[in-house]
Structures are given as C-alpha cells and as structure tokens.
C-alpha cells in the first residue's frame, strides 16, 4: 500500500515538474524579443556557451572522424570497397554522430555550467534581488542563455561534422592510401543536401533547445542549498543526455524512413 503511494507521489511530482518546466519555458520565450534588443547579453552568453565549447567539440570531432576512418577502412578493405569510406564517414557524421555527440558534449561542457551558474544565483538570492528591483530574472538571466544555447548548438554540430570528415580524410587518404578523388566523389554523390545535411542541422537545433531548456530549468528549479546545486547539475547532464538520445531515435525515425 505504501509502495503504491510512493509510486503515486513520484508520478505526481514528475508531472508537476514537467508542467513547471513548460510554464517556465513559456515565460522565458516571452523574454526573447527583449533579448534581441539587448544583444550584448546574448553575445556574452554565446561566448560562454559556444566559443568556450569549441575546443572540446573540435578535438572530439577530429578523433571521432579519425577512428571512423580507421575502423571503416579495416572493414571495407575486405570487400575491396575502401573507396566507400567517404560515404561511411560523411553520412554517419552528418546524420548521427555530429548532432548527437556534440549535443552530449555540449550538455556536459555548457549545460552543467549553466545549471550551476543559475542555481548559485538562486541560492545566493541574486534572482530574488532582481525581482525586488522589478527586473524579471526569466527575461534578464534565463532568456539570453536559452537563446545562446539554441544558436550555438547547430554551429558546434556543423564544426564537429566538418572537422570529423577531415579527420577521416587524413587517416583514410593520408595514412591508409584511399584514392583521394574516389573518396570525395563517392561522398558527394551519396550525401544529399536536403535529406542529410539539412536534417542533421534540424536535429542539432532540436537538441540545442532540449539541452539548454533542461539546463536552465534545472538551475532555476534547484533546491537553494549546495547539495541542491550539485543534484541539479547531475540531473542536467543525465536528463539532457537521455533526452538527446531519445529525441535522436524519434527524429531519425521521422526523417530517414
């Protein structure tokens, strides 16, 4: 009986949080037009979320591309199809790995920082102080961060994919001796702009919304203690990673049927 009650309580609190998250998002979206006027706030957030994530994204992209090149070559060479390495690289990076891995890295690198920052603002009552001065913290603090995350994510995913393709090119063509012309031409004939690249960009855009939304909400909704901030930061990384992987399945099923 008590187990049933605990289950009910957990379910209720889950839906309550879900509802709070959506109301929070709605209010924040109301602050987006004002953010566009105060674009200094936006640029400093794009710097914190996008530019500072650049190194980890570019290095990861390079190594993911290089590993793909190596493993793909080892398998394809058995079939005498090592020229198809370009297709393997470009399609797996542009369709899946680029958006997904960069979103996971973004959640770990930028999402956790967002949650900790906003959570500490709440804990030290900076948000309450803003409200006292009739400044809406959702518009002044949260909206620029949300918008910056949504803008930065597709750019980071594109950089990841491009760097990855060149990493695979370096290993495949430079080290293992795949023919350069066949590498590029097969890639170009197999990758379609609308079906592959545009869908990849849409994916990373959706992931950007999901990760940043979860990060700012967890920060804003944190219990105002040091333990609360640590729990909220963990939840951001776990929940946004799960959201990215789940959404990826749904989007893939919708896009590439």
């Amino acid at each position: 009986m008590s187990a049933l009650r605990a289950l009910g309580r957990a379910g209720l609190s889950f839906f309550e949080r879900l509802g709070r998250g959506h109301i929070f998002l709605l209010y924040t979206l109301g602050g987006l037009p004002a953010t566009l006027y105060r674009w200094r706030l936006l640029t400093s957030q794009v710097f914190a979320l996008g530019v500072l994530s650049l190194v980890i994204i570019a290095v990861s992209g390079l190594f993911v591309g290089m590993v793909l090149g190596l493993q793909g070559y080892n398998t394809l060479v058995d079939f005498g199809a090592e020229e198809s390495l370009g297709i393997l690289l470009a399609l797996s990076l542009v369709r899946e790995l680029g958006p997904v891995v960069s979103a996971l890295l973004f959640a770990g690198r930028a999402g956790s920082a967002l949650t900790a920052e906003i959570g500490l603002m709440k804990t030290t009552e900076q948000l309450a102080a803003m409200e006292m001065m009739a400044v809406d913290p959702l518009h002044r603090v949260v909206a620029p961060r949300l918008l910056a995350g949504i803008l930065a994510m597709p750019l980071l995913a594109a950089i990841f994919s491009a760097v990855g393709v060149y990493g695979g090119y370096f290993v495949g063509v430079g080290l293992l001796g795949v023919d350069e012309g066949a590498f590029w031409s097969q890639m170009q004939s197999a990758v379609d702009f609308h079906d592959d690249i545009l869908n990849g960009v849409i994916k990373s855009f959706v992931f950007g919304i999901a990760v940043t939304w979860i990060a700012v909400f967890e920060g804003y909704d944190t219990a105002p203690t040091s333990a609360g901030i640590s729990r909220a930061t963990t939840r951001t990384v776990v929940n946004s990673s799960l959201a990215v992987l789940g959404l990826d399945f749904v989007l893939t099923a919708l896009m590439f049927d």
Binding site: R40, A90, L155
Partner: protein
C-alpha cells in the same frame, strides 16, 4: 568596454566558423554543387526505356565515363508502357548528336546504376525537350540467369535427341 568588444569579435569569429563549417558540409560533402545548376544552366532531355532496373532519381548520366548530367525524374508512360527518364544535362555539353543512344549500366558488379550516353553520328544536336528513343534496358540479373539456365537445358535436351 574594451572587454565586451573583444568578446563580440570572438563571438563573430565563432559564428563565422560555424557557418563556414556548414558551407564546407554543403559544398564539399554533399552534391548540392551539381544539383544547384537549377534550370538556368541545364537543359532537359527525355529517354524512353523498356526497363530502367534500379535507376534512381539523381543517378548520374555519363558520356565516356564523364558525368554530364543527372536523372531529374522518372515517370511511367501509360500509353507505350515504357519508363521515361527525364535527364538534366549541363549546358556546357550542348553538342550531343540527335541519334545518341542511352543505356542503363551498372557501376561494378553491385554498384549503383547510371545512364550511359553513346554519341551517334548525326550533325544535329539534341535540344531541350528532345527524346532519345534508341535505348537499351537495364540488365536484370534474374533474366540473365533465367536465359542462361534455359539455354543450358535446351542444350542438354538437344544432345539427348541426337543420341537417340
């Protein structure tokens, strides 16, 4: 003030880098560069095939192995029961004779199928909207095997007859 200008410059560079990466993906990796011919730099011809096999939209159209265009659409003509491949040829290849033949070939044993144009000897050249009728269908693997087996069976049957 100095600090915020610095940040703005870096953010500008970041955005440019991201858009540049997208541009690389678009132009270097995808086939948009050829699809981007649009209607201005290509002209359209049609080819009627009895069977197009595994030909797809966007399959390459080659002359002497050089890609000169792409298949833009594939339709079925319900009057003559043939497949109509609508082909976009790049404008720089205008000198294709009117009696050119079109074959559906396969790249390698298992590769993708493409249309190969074999130039004829006519003095006149194909214009937009012209139709190629001198075509050879795709080789369907099952038919080849079927013919081979049928031929074998007929051969061995003929042998029996001669012995009797």
């Amino acid at each position: 003030m100095m600090h915020s200008k610095w940040i703005e410059t870096i953010v500008g560079a970041f955005v440019a880098l991201g858009l540049g990466a997208l541009l690389v993906l678009t132009l270097r990796i995808s086939n948009l560069s050829l699809a981007g011919f649009g209607a201005d730099s290509t002209y359209e011809i049609r080819a009627m095939f009895d069977n197009i096999g595994g030909l797809k939209v966007r399959s390459p159209v080659k002359m002497a192995g050089v890609t000169v265009g792409r298949v833009n659409a594939i339709e079925f003509d319900s009057k003559s029961y043939t497949a109509v491949a609508i082909i976009q040829i790049d404008k720089q290849y205008t000198q294709i004779p009117t009696d050119t033949g079109a074959n559906v070939y396969t790249a390698g044993l298992l590769g993708e199928q493409y249309i190969s144009l074999a130039p004829g000897g006519s003095e006149e050249f194909l214009k937009g909207g012209d139709v190629i009728t001198d075509t050879q269908s795709a080789v369907v693997f099952e038919q080849v095997i079927g013919q081979f087996l049928y031929g074998k069976a007929a051969e061995s049957g003929g042998d029996k007859d001669s012995k009797e």
